[in-house]
């Protein structure tokens, strides 16, 4: 099971995403932003960081990278894609997921251990969780407020495409407390919190995040 992890200039959490893939028994494969090449991977992770400094808008420049064109094509054919934090922002900018992420309502970058409720365990990345389960993973972002127009929100809610919701006080002003969403086919998932930083209790608050990577390994083995 080969899982591609993309590195853009300014990507930071690629090392961590690759480590998480390894912990789950997969093989992490480095993908470079400037290559039109997915190296025969079975799934792709777009990790967190500040691609191109996030200067214009988070993800706005990365979206146009050559590797992203390949990711968009592959996702349309059903390849599982996970966008974490900056990766989520990039997937929104690339229109693989609806909506956008804006500045946190209190304007500060927020790094904290965040409880999330799993609302959809039917995606390629969440089958190891029970619906309604609560998990604790780090959240660390300055622009994590999920925004979409009302009809998009209605559609997401109606189709059960909200995958994770913040529990307790909303940390960033996200609409409907949304922490993560999925594509209509459940293959593409984006979320602001960082499951790859919660794969053991030594360096993370819990190992609750590992489930996402184990789910992926399951789903590809099944497919």
């Amino acid at each position: 099971m080969r899982v591609g992890v993309i590195t853009f200039p300014g990507t930071l959490d690629d090392v961590d995403a690759a480590r998480a893939v390894g912990y789950a028994g997969g093989e992490a494969v480095k993908l470079w932003h400037a290559d039109h090449d997915l190296k025969d991977v079975d799934a792709v992770i777009v990790p967190g960081g500040f691609s191109y400094g996030d200067y214009l808008r988070c993800g706005a420049i990365a979206r146009f990278a050559p590797v992203m064109q390949e990711v968009v094509d592959a996702a349309k054919k059903g390849m599982p894609v996970l966008g974490i934090c900056n990766g989520f922002q990039i997937l929104c900018e690339a229109h693989l997921l609806p909506g956008a992420l804006i500045r946190n309502h209190k304007l500060h970058f927020v790094c904290r251990d965040q409880w999330l409720k799993v609302e959809n365990n039917a995606t390629a990345w969440t089958s190891r969780y029970d619906n309604g389960a609560e998990i604790l993973v780090p959240l660390k972002s300055g622009e994590g407020g999920y925004q979409a127009d009302q009809s998009t929100l209605d559609e997401l809610e109606g189709e059960g495409r909200v995958v994770f919701r913040y529990v307790g006080e909303n940390p960033n002003g996200s609409r409907n407390d949304i922490a993560g969403i999925t594509s209509a086919n459940g293959r593409v998932v984006g979320l602001m919190p960082h499951p790859e930083h919660a794969i053991d209790a030594l360096t993370g608050p819990t190992d609750d995040g590992l489930g996402m990577f184990l789910s992926l390994v399951d789903s590809v083995v099944k497919a």
Binding site: L12, F50, G53, K106, F109, C111
Partner: protein
């Protein structure tokens, strides 16, 4: 634009030069003329003036800093691979790993422009670590501000915190600790110290020097602009004729671009890995002037730099401006000609602009040309290493005796029934309150190696994923103690940082510092400085760990009032297996006993209690006992190694009361505490050499037997109560954790949200 060349200087020996505006004294200017045998060109004047500034030349501190090297024994030096004199100290920590770490100040820029000042402070120290050949792994930020409720603190603090976070987060470096301290003396002069730690394989150490005739000098990273030029712009207004337009005096503010630095880091690491770098130097204060002269001075030849090749961001820059620009995110490398193509290819991969700006030459001159005309021709050692040295007058302040005589003994003590409330009041006071408002703006998870970060006694990162070897770091300084007795104050800072590192289970191995003081032209300040250096160095000898580097920041004062002397001390510790780290929060094990290690005396000079309740500063600080600290450290490490400790927290500002509040709140469990006779002293004294530990009941006897055998005083002071949601102090009553939490965590949000 007319450019002042060497030829021109020779033919116009009597031309007036604005050396005073550039901060040079008459005799310094005379010495430059003496060295060169003529008047300096504008470019030479710019280079000497920035390099002979206090910041770059250490002219007031050099004679004192020598004491660090003089007192470092061979035994202390054993693990040290690079020390004072290099960009940063390097220590061998085992398993083939070398750790490099250093602190630096960015105080004045952060007052003028808090966000960018703090951001570029982080950027600068990270490049220092990178220049040693190491991958930067984590940052820390010891900060000092004016009173928490002062209006200007509301401007300065949020900006500085956002700047530290904005830059560090974007670089992908976890922030694993720091300090936030408030005191009125920092009101017009906040302190922004930044520390970076990095790691490399022992054989990969890179030292900054330009060797090998014919080797190329490459400038890479950002373009050079007009930022941070400050004083040197007076040269531009001198030389700009009216038709070109006089350039106004430029703001000396630099704007950082963390994205460019992140890319620069990855680019450098790839260059190191391919072994195509002979020497490397970061560009920080004094920009190219510093980098070229230091590289040339440390090498075995001369250097020729073609200044017109430097990629610029602004038009019409003069050679003097280019040399002294402090544009950020630039590095200078020395590369063998046969490696040039490979070097350029790596830079191209990372989209990093790289330009060959010169070469290493035979001889011993640094020569800089501007469109084929020589604008600078100097012996580089006279610029970089043989600057002026001052023996500034030193005088113990006249009021020092009065200050020490004004002891806290006569201050009214609280009545017994007021003690519980006082615990809460103290926990809510700005210096003791939770710093979460600050630290939650910092990424502490990135890179996946952070084992401990705030709130913890020291930050800890895993260095080796296979062996689990790691390092712990803590920075500390109580400026009030240092004011009362700078010699003891520096040792207290050392003792606290040392204790913090041992409290997490690591063994202290090396020291760095950032010495923040007032004006060196004030003999009283120089006395504080001299005392602090002596105290720190002597303390290091007693503990057997070397000072590997540091930084001096003078002129921290508002008008005639200096800041509290603030010798910030950073201690690095090694832990062979990070999985045996000791956390701060209690309640991890089912039944735990709380033991207090060390001894408590009535010591309130410079204490947080005297400060918060009485606004009093006087008397003597708590006694230092470094042998005791050493013993304590050995016991804690042994306890961690044998799995006898489930939590530990050192006692410092605020005493036992604050330690109890924090261990309960961080662990999210209650405790029952029983204390001895003088409850006020028990709770609030700041005697040193004390640590509160939680021991699983099954280990209690084994651990206390070890303490007794080793001669470390210990006392049972309570039990952890997982069923309870209060801190209960026998004879006094009970404080609900919710109430304590509100007090402890509410203060900073109320002030700064």
């Amino acid at each position: 634009m007319t450019v002042d060349t060497v030829k021109n200087a020779e033919s116009t020996p009597d031309q007036e030069q604005p050396y005073k505006e550039l901060g040079l004294k008459d005799d310094e200017y005379a010495r430059i003329k003496d060295i060169l045998g003529r008047r300096p060109t504008d470019a030479e004047l710019a280079m000497y003036s920035v390099m002979w500034s206090e910041h770059c030349s250490y002219k007031s501190s050099k004679v004192h800093l020598k004491y660090f090297s003089d007192t470092t024994t061979d035994e202390m030096r054993e693990k040290m691979l690079a020390g004072i004199g290099e960009n940063a100290g390097v220590v061998d920590i085992g398993d083939g790993w070398a750790i490099t770490f250093k602190a630096e100040s960015h105080n004045h820029p952060s007052y003028v422009e808090p966000y960018q000042g703090a951001a570029t402070g982080v950027g600068g120290i990270v490049r220092d670590i990178l220049a040693m050949g190491a991958r930067p792994l984590a940052v820390m930020d010891p900060l000092r501000f004016g009173p928490a409720d002062a209006p200007d603190t509301r401007r300065v603090l949020p900006g500085i915190v956002a700047g530290v976070g904005g830059y560090g987060n974007c670089l992908g470096l976890p922030n694993i600790g720091g300090e936030v301290v408030f005191d009125a003396t920092y009101a017009g002069n906040p302190l922004v110290n930044a520390l970076c730690v990095g790691a490399m394989r022992v054989e990969d150490l890179h030292l900054a020097h330009a060797s090998g005739t014919g080797n190329k000098v490459i400038l890479f990273g950002a373009r050079t602009g007009l930022d941070g030029i400050g004083g040197v712009s007076v040269l531009a207004s001198e030389t700009f004729d009216d038709s070109a337009g006089k350039r106004k005096k430029l703001p000396s503010v630099q704007v950082g671009d963390p994205f460019t630095e992140k890319v620069l880091i990855e680019c450098c690491l790839e260059l190191f890995a391919e072994r195509i770098v002979v020497g490397i130097q970061d560009l920080g204060g004094a920009g190219l002037a510093c980098a070229t002269s230091e590289l040339a001075s440390a090498g075995d030849g001369g250097m020729h730099v073609y200044l017109d090749r430097v990629p610029l961001r602004a038009t019409g820059m003069t050679p003097a401006e280019i040399l002294s620009s402090e544009s950020q995110e630039r590095m200078c490398a020395v590369v063998r000609p046969e490696d040039l193509d490979a070097f350029m290819a790596v830079c191209a991969k990372w989209d990093v602009i790289a330009t060959e700006i010169g070469e290493v030459t035979e001889g011993d001159r640094l020569v800089i040309t501007w469109h084929d005309e020589v604008v600078l021709d100097v012996p580089p050692r006279t610029v970089a290493h043989e600057g002026p040295v001052y023996n500034r007058p030193i005088e113990r302040p006249a009021d020092q005796d009065a200050l020490q005589a004004d002891t806290p003994d006569g201050l009214p003590k609280p009545a017994r029934e007021e003690l519980l409330d006082l615990v809460k009041t103290m926990a809510a006071s700005p210096n003791l309150a939770s710093k979460r408002w600050v630290t939650q703006q910092y990424d502490r998870y990135v890179r996946g190696g952070t084992v401990l970060s705030q709130p913890a006694d020291s930050g800890m990162i895993r260095i080796d994923e296979t062996t689990n070897r790691g390092v712990a770091l803590s920075t500390d300084c109580n400026g009030r103690y240092a004011k009362l007795d700078p010699y003891a104050g520096a040792q207290l800072a050392l003792a606290e940082a040392y204790r913090n590192v041992s409290t997490t289970g690591a063994t202290p191995v090396a020291v760095t510092n950032c010495l923040n003081f007032g004006s060196p032209e004030d003999p009283a300040v120089m006395w504080q400085f001299e005392q602090a250096v002596k105290g720190l160095a002597d303390g290091c000898v007693e503990l057997g760990i070397p000072v590997t580097g540091g930084n001096v920041s003078f002129y921290n004062q508002t008008g005639a009032t200096a800041i509290l002397p603030t010798p910030v001390v950073g201690v690095l510790g090694v832990i062979d297996d990070v999985r045996r780290r000791i956390p701060t929060g209690i309640g991890a094990e089912a039944g735990e006993t709380l033991l207090l290690l060390g001894e408590t005396h009535a010591e309130f000079g410079g204490s947080e209690w005297a400060h918060v309740v009485h606004g009093h500063l006087g008397g003597l600080p708590p006694k230092v006992d470094l042998q005791r600290e050493k013993l304590l450290g050995e016991v804690l490490v042994a306890g961690s190694r044998d799995g006898m400790l489930s939590a530990a927290h050192d006692l410092s500002d605020g005493g036992l009361a604050q330690a109890l509040v924090e261990t309960c709140l961080i662990g999210e469990v209650g405790a029952r505490v029983f204390l001895e006779a003088d409850l006020f002293t028990e709770l609030f004294s700041e005697s040193t050499g004390r640590v509160l530990v939680a021991v699983p009941r099954t280990e209690e006897l084994r651990f206390t037997d070890m303490c007794t055998a080793r001669g470390l005083p210990w006392r049972k002071v309570g039990v952890v109560d997982p069923e309870s949601d209060a801190l209960e102090v026998q004879e006094l009553g009970s404080l609900p954790l919710a109430e304590l939490r509100e007090a402890w965590e509410g203060t900073l949000p109320a002030l700064f949200d």
